[in-house]
């Protein structure tokens, strides 16, 4: 259980295994909301500048254990939460997040950490107003990722788990475990399942309908007539790959 969002802002997040198409969808949503004159902020998993050098060093030296991996990613999330997401929600902004605590609940548990422990870790965060889970068959997601990348990275493929000698095989087994975790989170955290087999456009139509309904009659932070500062500055702009 995550605590309720009591801020005037709206928190919308997307989840799904690698290759589920969630980033494409949230990118389209971001642009659409901006075009409707809404104040929107976009936050991406694993993008805090504060822990960047530590993550880089740990990945390079293969220093991570499942526990330190989980703790460092939560540190990253906490930095974004305390300095961006939470204050902006308080100000009445729509915050869009590409991956949220559920990514940790999926991946970290797939790596073997205790389910209750990792849920406690993120208990300072709030339940999103909309949590979209893009569900695709494992093979489809794996094909998308393996055909788009030259080589899967060590941790991305879950090589630290010793599931298989082959990166592709290990990746499949790792993603399968994560998918099982997502599936049990659907009821636990009230995730809205979107069929990732639909066309991009059909999915986006569904996404917009859900968002529109949520924002019905809602007044957020107003957009000034002409802002000399431009739109709210987001952390990163949609770099691919946040594993």
């Amino acid at each position: 259980m995550l605590r309720k969002n009591t801020t005037p802002g709206k928190l919308i997040i997307v989840e799904g295994i690698d290759g589920s198409g969630k980033s494409t969808q949230i990118d389209l949503l971001y642009k659409w909301l901006q075009s409707k004159g809404k104040t929107v902020y976009f936050s991406e998993w694993n993008s805090s500048a504060l822990v960047k050098s530590t993550t880089k060093r740990a990945k390079k030296g293969k220093l991570f254990t499942p526990t330190t991996f989980s703790l460092l990613q939560c540190t990253d999330f906490a930095d974004r939460w305390e300095n961006r997401i939470f204050p902006l929600l308080k100000a009445g902004v729509i915050v869009l997040a590409d991956r949220y605590a559920f990514t940790a609940f999926g991946r970290d548990v797939a790596r073997g950490v205790d389910r209750e422990w990792v849920r406690n870790l993120y208990s300072f965060a709030m339940q999103p107003d909309i949590a979209l889970y893009f569900r695709v068959p494992l093979d489809v997601a794996v094909d998308r990722i393996t055909s788009a990348r030259a080589k899967l990275k060590y941790y991305e493929a879950g090589m630290d788990l010793d599931l298989s000698e082959s990166r592709v095989e290990s990746f499949k087994l790792f993603q399968e475990r994560i998918m099982n975790e997502y599936d049990r989170m659907v009821t636990e955290f009230n995730l809205t399942v979107i069929d990732g087999n639909l066309t991009v456009q059909a999915q986006q139509r569904l996404v917009r309908e859900i968002v529109k309904q949520e924002l019905e009659g809602w007044q957020g932070l107003p957009m000034p007539e002409s802002s000399p500062y431009g739109p709210v500055k987001s952390e990163t702009h949609h770099g691919k790959g946040n594993a």
Partner: protein, 237 residues
């Protein structure tokens, strides 16, 4: 040979098993003399023929640099700081402390997670959240609490390395000077340590005495629980 015990779930993905070594923790306020005692204990235990390894906060290879940078810039928000320190602690526990205990070392830990937790709670962290966070922590064989009052701490620090920003809790202080802030912050820390002393079975040692008296007390307690391990014969030759 002692069976490993954790405060919570521990590390479910690995079998830690029996640990032939001993984990000795020294807790207590800043300036209470922990590092002096750690050095004395190390020398003494090595003379007795024990292999000794020591560790302290922010010494993890993985996080050391990142934490130092963040501290310099004072850019760490409360929860972020708690988690960054927890990462450092977990890394040292899994990659240094446990392997050393498995190899039969006596590990001297200059502070453990209790200090980190006390600092987090003084800064407003939810105590329940912090306790569960450290559910991966191994239970030490003995935890010494070097206890001194705030006046003693001030005296020692002013004659020693001086008062500093973090030890005075300046990051959360409404006061305009290090001294008032130090008194206020360290008093809160001491009352938390007192509370933990019961909860976690600390052995409280009065640290407001000469160094060698404190050391003598520590030796007596350590001898007691190391007695099953015969010291190496050490005669002059």
């Amino acid at each position: 040979m002692s069976k490993s015990e954790f405060y919570g779930a521990g590390f479910p993905y690995r079998e830690v098993g029996n640990l032939p070594g001993k984990l000795i923790v020294l807790e207590g306020s800043d300036g209470v003399g922990r590092s002096t005692q750690t050095q004395l204990l190390r020398k003494w235990l090595e003379d007795e023929g024990f292999a000794v390894s020591d560790t302290g906060l922010r010494r993890s290879e993985m996080t050391q640099q990142g934490i130092e940078e963040a501290r310099k810039g004072h850019t760490l928000s409360r929860i972020t700081m708690s988690l960054f320190y927890a990462t450092d602690f977990a890394d040292r526990l899994e990659n240094q402390i446990i392997p050393a205990l498995q190899a039969g070392f006596v590990v001297l830990s200059d502070r453990y997670f209790y200090s980190i937790m006390a600092r987090d709670i003084v800064r407003g962290a939810n105590p329940e959240w912090a306790r569960k966070l450290y559910g991966f922590a191994l239970k030490p064989d003995i935890i010494f609490y070097l206890k001194a009052n705030v006046t003693d701490l001030v005296t020692r620090l002013i004659h020693g390395r001086g008062l500093n920003y973090w030890e005075a809790g300046m990051d959360i202080s409404p006061s305009d000077n290090l001294f008032d802030s130090f008194i206020d912050y360290q008093s809160k820390m001491i009352s938390l340590f007192d509370q933990f002393a019961t909860e976690y079975n600390f052995v409280t040692v009065n640290a407001g005495r000469p160094v060698m008296d404190v050391f003598g007390d520590l030796q007596n307690h350590i001898r007691e629980f190391l007695e099953d391990q015969q010291p190496v014969i050490d005669e002059d030759f």
